[in-house]
Amino acid sequence: MEIDALLRALEATSVATVIRENESLFPWIESLHVLAITMVIGSIAIVDLRLIGLASLERAAARLTSDVLPCTWAAFAGAVITGSLLFSSNAFNYAHNSYFQAKFVCLCLAGINMAVFHLGVGRAIARWGAAAQTTPLPARIAGAASLLLWIGVVAFGRWTGFTLHATPLVS
């Protein structure tokens, strides 16, 4: 299969080889990845809880979003870079791991959820998101879906680490 050849080629690059063979490079990059992920998920949760109507109600939703989202995006960029480096070191096994695949399904769904929110109910955030105001149902649903999907990202990510070498290889 062409994708498998591509994965093997990625593993053979010098960057991937260095990460795989150096004793401490993988844990360092992994630590940065965990740090970035905690920042991504924690900051998204602050927005999600506001959208659901459970926390930060004293602050206007649009204000809170502009406080938090720059941190989210910066951390997300860090998570993507470190994640790509970790992936390259063992691309074939990661790509064939079902937990890893589930993590990416959650990630894509979280992205779609965010896009739907911004194109839909999120456009009127200035109107319904005033301080101490009850949030509309679509915003609450978007917040709850986001929270659940990001919890899924963490759970499947952690499970990947425990199952990576036990995954039967699909040839």
Binding site: S24, P27, E30, S31, V34, L35, I37, T38, M39, I41, G42, S43, A45, I46, A55, S56, E58, R59, R63, D67, V68, C71, I151, V154, A155, R158, W159, G161, F162
Partner: protein
């Protein structure tokens, strides 16, 4: 620090029925680790929001007390969850954690971070930078436990 008494305690704990049960059920450790990471995410984002406010980079239009009363309770609520899930991991693999120098370093950093976080209401840039550095160090030490 690695004493004979600590080693004896670890091998005793390893043999307890609870530890054996955690070791036998493969799902327990990844599950509590997931909860542990989610609680850490709550701490890290709350510390970040508090510290960015102290540094004057975010939310300067609202009073410091409001930011503190919104985010610091999150840290105090997350700590018991971190402790409970951490204890499950220790019981499951005592020697990997208790006798591990990185784990011991993590606990020292944690004590320092709690002390500094308790002082976060003071409008001080040094406290802001110090607390964020300590919590970042805790995350790094946490991941490195697996490699020592």
């Amino acid at each position: 620090m690695r004493t004979q008494a600590l080693d004896r305690f670890c091998s005793w704990l390893e043999q307890t029925p609870l530890s054996q049960a955690i070791q036998a059920a493969g799902w327990v450790v990844p599950t509590v680790q997931t909860i542990h990471i989610l609680a850490i995410a709550a701490v890290m984002s709350s510390v970040l929001m508090l510290d960015l406010r102290l540094l004057g980079m975010v939310g300067r239009d609202q009073p410091l007390e409001r930011v503190t009363s919104r985010f610091r309770p999150v840290i105090w609520w997350a700590l018991p969850i971190l402790l409970a899930t951490g204890v499950v991991m220790i019981i499951g693999e005592p020697a990997r954690s208790l006798a591990n120098p990185v784990f011991q370093l993590k606990m020292l950093l944690l004590l320092a971070a709690i002390a500094v976080t308790a002082g976060l209401h003071k409008d001080s840039r040094i406290i802001a930078i110090l607390s964020l550095s300590l919590w970042v160090g805790i995350v790094f030490a946490g991941r490195w436990i697996a490699y020592y």
